[in-house]
């Protein structure tokens, strides 16, 4: 029933604890999804804390939301969505056996990811620092608003950390792609890195409304922005 292929007939990347190539592909894919399930619970703990404190201090959390920069927030959301598109297209290129578009789309994905981080760190966080909105680094303001900013920085910080790791992995993949490692028969590392990248995008898809939009941003007398 099992196919013992002659050694050497296996494509690159085949691991010998498996009996068949398809078995390995399915196993690696399942493993990646299980890892993402752990990430859902990992970020979930932070979402839990945020939900609890938003329910306790709705006014302060609304104030906190209004102090965030919705222009950068929404732009960054678009940037990440675009990077998910380019990631999907990179995988697609491998699936149809095209090497140059693979490399192009991987590089675009990295550029967009780096752009996200640049906008966040250089504009949003730098401004927050100057406005004394970073807890532990000279925060000034209502303690409950500080609570909001704790979660804002923890959640977007953890998200940014995941982006940085993702970009690191993409660098490695781009080098591998440039060496022609991926084609229509073997593109599992791209596929599974794609899953990770899209997951990080989904986290942001929830962070943006929960942090920036939850209290509504309709102009309130006395509050600027």
């Amino acid at each position: 029933m099992t196919v013992h292929a002659v050694h050497g007939e296996h494509p690159p990347g085949f691991a010998h604890q498996f009996e068949e190539v398809e078995q390995q592909r399915e196993a690696v894919n399942l493993g990646m999804w299980l890892f993402l399930a752990t990430e859902i619970m990992f970020f979930g703990g932070l979402f839990m804390g945020y939900i609890v404190y938003r329910s306790h201090f709705p006014g302060a959390f609304d104030d906190g939301s209004h102090l965030l920069n919705i222009k950068f927030g929404s732009t960054n959301t678009a940037v990440l969505i675009a990077s998910s598109l380019t990631m999907a297209l990179a995988i697609h290129s491998a699936q149809v056996g095209k090497k140059k578009p693979q490399i192009l789309f991987l590089i675009l994905t990295m550029i967009l990811g780096a752009l996200f981080l640049f906008l966040k760190f250089n504009f949003e966080w730098r401004a927050d620092y100057h406005e004394h909105l970073i807890p532990g680094f000279g925060f000034r303001g209502d303690p409950h608003v500080q609570m909001f900013f704790c979660f804002y920085f923890f959640m977007t910080g953890l998200h940014a950390l995941h982006m940085i790791v993702g970009i690191g992995i993409l660098i490695v993949l781009t080098i591998m792609a440039a060496r022609g490692r991926f084609n229509e028969h073997y593109y599992a590392p791209l596929e599974n890195t794609g899953l990770y990248w899209h997951f990080v995008d989904i986290i942001w898809i929830f962070l943006f409304p929960l942090l920036y939009l939850a209290g509504g941003r309709y102009p309130i007398p006395g509050v600027t922005h």
């Binding site: 999804w33 919705i70 598109l85 149809v96 899953l195 509504g216």
Partner: protein, 111 residues
Amino acid sequence: MSGHVVPVKIYVAVFVSLIFLTALTTAVAYVDMGKFNLVAALAIAVAKMLLVILFFMHVKYSPTLTKVVIVAAFVWLGIMVTLTLSDELTRNWGVKVTGWSMILPHLRGLF
């Protein structure tokens, strides 16, 4: 997942939808809907997430086991949130003193 090639135009359509939904959620935030603002924002986020999961992450074409893993993770997150909130949101609920709880202290005096 393996072998299934999603046409580029589907990816582009998903991308356009995601951008549209982002614009929508941002715009809606400027409309005063009270509590419903949050509901709308989350509903749109869920829609975006589903698009990414089903198409970009190929789950529409993935085995059932993959779908089970994803659903399980969200269900577990739901368990954590629901049961924690069952405490956090009910701490200030009072106990209504009616019926037997009014009578029992008096009964004790009889014995």
